[in-house]
Structure formats: C-alpha cells, structure tokens
Symmetry: C2
Amino acid sequence: MLDYKLLEALAAVVDQSGFERGARHLGLTQSAVSQRIKLLEARLGQPVLVRSPKLAPTPLGRRLLNHVLQVGLLEHDLLDQVPALGDSEQRLRLAINADSIATWWPPAVGQFCTEQRVLMDLVVEDQDVALKRMRDGEVAGCICTTPRPVQGARAHALGSMRYRALASPAYVARHFPEGVTHQRLATAPAIVYGPDDGLQHRYLAMREYHAPFPHHLCPSSEGFVRLALAGMGYGLIPERQAARELAEGWLQDLDPKSHIDVPLYWHHWRHGGQILTALTDHLLTISSHWLAPMHENPEPGSA
Amino acid sequence: MLDYKLLEALAAVVDQSGFERGARHLGLTQSAVSQRIKLLEARLGQPVLVRSPKLAPTPLGRRLLNHVLQVGLLEHDLLDQVPALGDSEQRLRLAINADSIATWWPPAVGQFCTEQRVLMDLVVEDQDVALKRMRDGEVAGCICTTPRPVQGARAHALGSMRYRALASPAYVARHFPEGVTHQRLATAPAIVYGPDDGLQHRYLAMREYHAPFPHHLCPSSEGFVRLALAGMGYGLIPERQAARELAEGWLQDLDPKSHIDVPLYWHHWRHGGQILTALTDHLLTISSHWLAPMHENPEPGSA
C-alpha cells in the first residue's frame, strides 16, 4: 500500500498553503513534514510540489491529492458502519460559483450539512472554470455551466440562475433617461465581474452592441450589488440576490421584459462515497425550489 | 523616451489575462501584440512576462506596469487641464479587502466616482496581503491592516471594522445552549474565510481556546453571512454587514459584550496624480461615518 503518512503531509501542506501551517495542522514540526514530502518525492523519483513562485502541486501531486480525497470519502463510509474507528465528521471540498454561494447554495445545503455532519471547504470559482478544479482532482464536486462531465465524474442539470441588468434609479435617470440605446451604452459605466465577463458580453450582444464600453471591475458578488446600489454602474445581477433591492425600488430593471438564464450543472466524482451520493440526491430534490427551470432539457451525463 | 506602444501592449496582456483578450482590448491582432512584447523583451534583454504555468509579469515586467499606471494617472491630470487631448475618464486599480467591498466601500466612494468620472478596477485581496500588490506596483492604492507604507507610498488611518461572532438562533440553541464553553468550541462548526483566518484565531485566543475546532471554509464575504444564516456555523462577521440580520433576530451575537476591531489603513502612491489625492481627501473626510474609531492613534506614515 501507499504510505499515507507521506500523502497526508502533502495534502496538509497544499490545503494549508504552506509548510509551517501544514505542519501545525498535523501537529508535527515543519522539518518532519518537509522530510515526509522529500521522502515521497524520492520514492516517486519526481517532484510533487512546485515551491516557487507559489507553492502548488505538480500534475503528479494533484493526482495524489485527488486520491487522498477519494480515500477520505471512502473512510467516511467505513466510519459510518464502524463508528468506534473515529469521529464521523466529513469534509467535502467543492468549487461553487460566487453567485451561487451568495444566493441559493447556503440555504439549500445548510440543513443537509448539519444533519449529515458535513463540513464544507468551498472554493469560489467562476462557473466556467470550476470544472478545471474537478479535472485536476482538487475538488470532489463543483457547480458549472457545462453539462459534460470530466473523466470519472457524473453531471446533473440543476436549473438556471436568472440574471437581470440592474442599476439604481438615480443612475438610470442619469445615463438612460430615454431607455437603453447604443449611444448611451458607449458612455454609461457598466460593472463587470472580471476582464472576461461572459454575462456582460451576452447582454450587449443581445442588444446588438459590439463597441467598447466604460466599466468598473469588481470580482465580488456582494460588492457588485453594492456598487450598483451606490449608483456607480449597471450590472447583470442574479434576480434572486437583488429580490429585496428590486422590491424596495433601490435597484431598477433596465429590461423588465428580458433576462439572461445561466444553466447550472452539479458535477461530482462517480466513486465519491455515500456522502457525495446523498448530497447529489439532496441537490436534485431541492434545486427546483431555488433555480429557474432550464429551457433545454439535457440528459444527465456520465464519463 | 520609452516606447509606450510596447508598454501598452504589456499592460493590456496582463490586465486582460491573455494575449488574445489583450489584443482585442487594443483593437490589434494577437500577432501584433505578441511582436510588441517580443520587441520590448529584446530591447531590455530580459523577459517581462512568464508564460507558464500562468501568464504573469516578471519582476521587471511589474516595475514597467507600475510605471505605466503612474503615467496614466499623470496623463489624467494633464487631460483635466487640456480636455481637447482626449476623454478624461480615469481608471484606478485598487486592492480592497472583501469585507470592505461587501460593506462600506461602495456607498463611501460611489458619488466620488460618479462626479470625478473614475472607473474602478477592484482587486479583492485579504487586508493582510493587499500591501504586497502595492509593493509589486499592481495597484495604485489599497486598504490593509498595516500602518507602514511601502517605498514611494503614503498611508493614512481610516478607522476600524468591528467584527462580532454571530450565528443563527437555531445553531446557538444546538451548539451553545449554556453559552460558549471550551468543550462546545471543540465540536461546534465555525465558518472561516481561509486556512489562515486571523480573525477566527484572535477570537479563540480571546477565549483562551487553543485546541482544534471543526470548520467550514468559505472565501466569500456574502457566502459567509449566508452560511451563518443557514445555521451551518458561527463566524466573525462585520457588525455593519449583519446589521439587518441582527435587528431582525436572524443572527445572534455569541458575545454581546465583546468584539474584535480590525484597523484599516488607506495606502496610495505618493506621486499618483490629482485623482488619487482627491480620493484620499475624500476617504479621510468620510471614513469616520463608516468605520469605528481606532483605539490607538497612529501617525499617518510616509515612505
């Protein structure tokens, strides 16, 4: 069998982003952890960690971490049957898009986590790239916009997040007094999440606008809403996240007749143990309460 | 003089995180941008970009980017005096901690940005590490917990963010029925922002608790509050962010008599042009409205 003491040291150093913190986490000295990783690399004849510019696992290291996570999930199942073996609290590392974390994810999974004694390690990741984390074996599940699962995983359609172009009434009066026109879009500041904000581009394409536009950059879901509330720009915001702001009239819909739906899929390891299966069942049961139905009706995938 | 066409290509590629997007941003072909950067590197005899594993500027590249940003700020001042030269919209890249973006920053700067026609590129950064972004020349200003400015910058005390340990009433009844005890802290799940969450450790140290504790990881300000609302754990949340949740009784204070104050300092380049000076004046005028007074009274620093 593999030497799990060595793998555990690798996992701790990566999880805790450093040798010192990893060692503290394991209750070991830094030099003990360092030796374990050196021994692991000597046995494999290859490095498992890149030390600079930033501490990160090599592709081999990632495969090992993936394996450690899977073993952990299987151990959890075993502990359910043989509770005397240890504590049955279970960690799940999941990549969830920022807008889901800021809206439906916590209330949707809160009770499940409490009842099943699950602790979540959430990684905030753009829905378009979360799948990369799955492929790299860094997370046991993710939410993303792609229906196609990676090797060894399954994917299920959950529903759509509905986005609307929102701004404060003062902003609308100032920048779009006669509605949203191409001329105004060229000068009205938008709020975008990052340099590659697909939603903003989809919105402008829907309006057949393809020229440059001024924009603030704000890679924070909550900050996004607050910038809009402060009258700094208009932005594509999940309807659900701004329900109160819309109801109170603090934010206003630029296009009440249209919206953008972003489909969300739940991806998880195929052999991830009972807890991942239970979470999947739970998500499929409750997702329609939190997300809009999808227009397409894609088959659940498997790879 | 330096060839600013080349520097502009470098800035676009880094800002837009890619050659293709950088080229699109400049309205050039990818190969034209690529050639400009190769020419820049040939003239300098050193690389300005690391291409893998991730596109990033080298230390030399960072110094050049810093310079381009500073020139941009000075150009803005010039355009104010000679408006015919061009559009006077101005971008400011700033590193702001997630909790500030989720609370006081947008309402505090919204009107200023609108009036001064400032577009913000916000980088969400832990208050403890934002200063590194300043040192690397990636941002023109930042909010962090350190009073000491980096070389070429100034720092000003703004005030403190007040944090309280909050959880849902159901969670409190379940995990802390007889108050917060060491025995309960060992089993009650906390919510922490990252593996190195200084606030959580300060809170536990305040309670003289130094043993392990179960926790969820959630690197999102908004998600943090939502996980607490969903009854998944207790966490240290800015009082201001949870004002409504506390007033409505959705969240409950574990220690109404104590809190943790985190001092915040505004750092900015010393020669960053008028707009940065105006923003600094504005922040110093309005910060007491948004932040608690500091206990210490440190001198504004300068380096």
